[in-house]
């Protein structure tokens, strides 16, 4: 079987794949990084969002071999070095931005991508950016609040 190599959360990894192996499957099954969730597997729900070379992508709608040589960051890469929650993760906890938590990995990765491009987004910009992330618990209000709080903390730290 062919082999693929990439960087995931700063670590060089490689593994055997098939042509049809999705990036989400490589991350979850081969690398055992099960924080990346697969909700719909049809690129609608956004639970599987990771960053590929700094950009948010739906890992269920990308083949593992397309990520050859790429720099991938998954939810496991969002924690601080000591294992404590990163700024955005902490903001989700503080603002009750999750209930069942299934969509949260994708929400956090999308939020991180948004704040990278736009450090001070308006509520409308946050809601617009989350178009491809579906949450069936929260009604989104506290997710928006969490991202606003995270944006404030990140700006204060910058």
């Amino acid at each position: 079987m062919p082999n693929v190599s990439m960087t995931v959360n700063g670590r060089n990894v490689s593994g055997e794949i098939e042509g049809r192996t999705l990036l989400s499957e490589f991350i979850r099954d081969t690398l055992q990084l099960t924080g990346t969730h697969v909700g719909c597997d049809t690129s609608q729900c956004g639970a599987c969002v990771v960053h590929a070379d700094g950009r948010a992508v739906k890992s269920c709608t990308m083949f593992a071999w397309e990520a050859e040589g790429a720099d991938i960051v998954s939810i496991e890469g969002m924690a601080n070095a000591d294992g404590s929650l990163g700024v955005i993760q902490q903001a989700f906890q503080d603002n009750h931005g999750l209930q069942c938590g299934f969509c949260t990995p994708g929400m956090v990765m999308s939020a991180a991508a948004l704040l990278q491009d736009n450090p001070d987004p308006s509520e409308a910009e946050i809601r617009d950016y989350l178009e491809g992330n579906i949450c069936r618990c929260t009604g989104y209000h506290n997710i928006v609040k969490a991202i606003q709080a995270a944006a404030g903390s990140l700006r204060a730290a910058a």
């Binding site: 950009r55 948010a56 992508v57 709608t61 990308m62 491809g132």
Partner: protein
């Protein structure tokens, strides 16, 4: 999904050679073909990714044209075309969602020619040229019907060249669940010539609304559309809208586009 072979060439020449395999298909951003393959509605023997071909990505402006590499993702078009062709940038910025826009490409969109996709309206209304590995096609000759284009077996789109109009706007009404265009209207005025392309509405895919073009070329104002209506004949009928509804929406959106242009 059935398994398949894959290649990730670094040059156009290698991609074209790889596409000579029978049953080979181009993989651009994968935002349509991967879901289609999961449903076993497509079964390519081999996928040839153009994601690693640097020459096929990027936006350039010159000689009154904005040229977009076929493998340029929507997010990059939204950013790079904002100055030279804002109506095109805004169209690109409203396809799908941010993660889809980071992968989906213009070449993939127009090669697939989904009747509810946005880019075909821009390509047709702008009178853009589609440059492939073997020829240059005018937009008027490219789109042949729903999911049908003039592309031959193994033909690879390299870039799309848009003449930049004096004024343009794209307006769409999103299907509330999928956010695809239930109907979209792209209006482009260059001097006294106006082109209007409607997507999402017709059973034959994207089309030019010639009566509206003639009226708007005489007088580029919303009121010159008064009394003009598209026939519901040949319009898409599904659970999201009747042919009459789509024909009506096309008129409303064209008027909005004229106002916004």
């Amino acid at each position: 999904m059935y398994d398949f072979e894959f290649e990730r060439p670094a040059t156009v020449a290698d991609a074209v050679a790889a596409l000579r395999t029978e049953g080979a298909q181009v993989l651009a951003g994968g935002q349509t073909i991967i879901p289609t393959m999961k449903n076993r509605l497509a079964q390519p023997v081999k996928l040839v990714s153009v994601g690693g071909i640097a020459d096929m990505s990027g936006v350039s402006v010159g000689d009154g044209c904005l040229t977009v590499g076929a493998a340029t993702c929507h997010a990059d078009v939204a950013a790079a075309a904002a100055g030279a062709y804002p109506a095109l940038a805004s169209l690109a910025a409203n396809i799908g969602d941010p993660a889809v826009r980071n992968r989906g490409t213009i070449g993939g969109s127009i090669a697939n020619d989904d009747p509810a996709s946005c880019y075909p309206a821009a390509v047709l209304a702008s009178g853009a040229d589609i440059i492939t590995d073997r020829r240059r096609l005018a937009a008027d000759d490219f789109f042949l019907g729903m999911f049908e284009t003039a592309l031959e077996e193994g033909e690879l789109i390299l870039e799309v060249s848009f003449p930049i109009p004096d004024a343009a706007s794209y307006q769409k009404f999103e299907q509330p669940a999928s956010r695809f265009a239930l109907v979209g209207a792209f209006v482009a005025r260059s001097g006294g010539l106006v082109r209007v392309a409607i997507t999402g509405a017709s059973d034959s895919g994207v089309f030019r609304w010639r009566e509206a073009e003639a009226a708007l070329s005489d007088d580029f104002s919303r009121s010159s559309l008064n009394g003009l209506a598209l026939s519901p004949e040949g319009m898409i009928s599904d659970i999201h809208g009747t042919p009459e509804y789509r024909a009506h929406l096309a008129g409303v959106l064209t008027a909005r586009a004229v106002e916004a242009a």
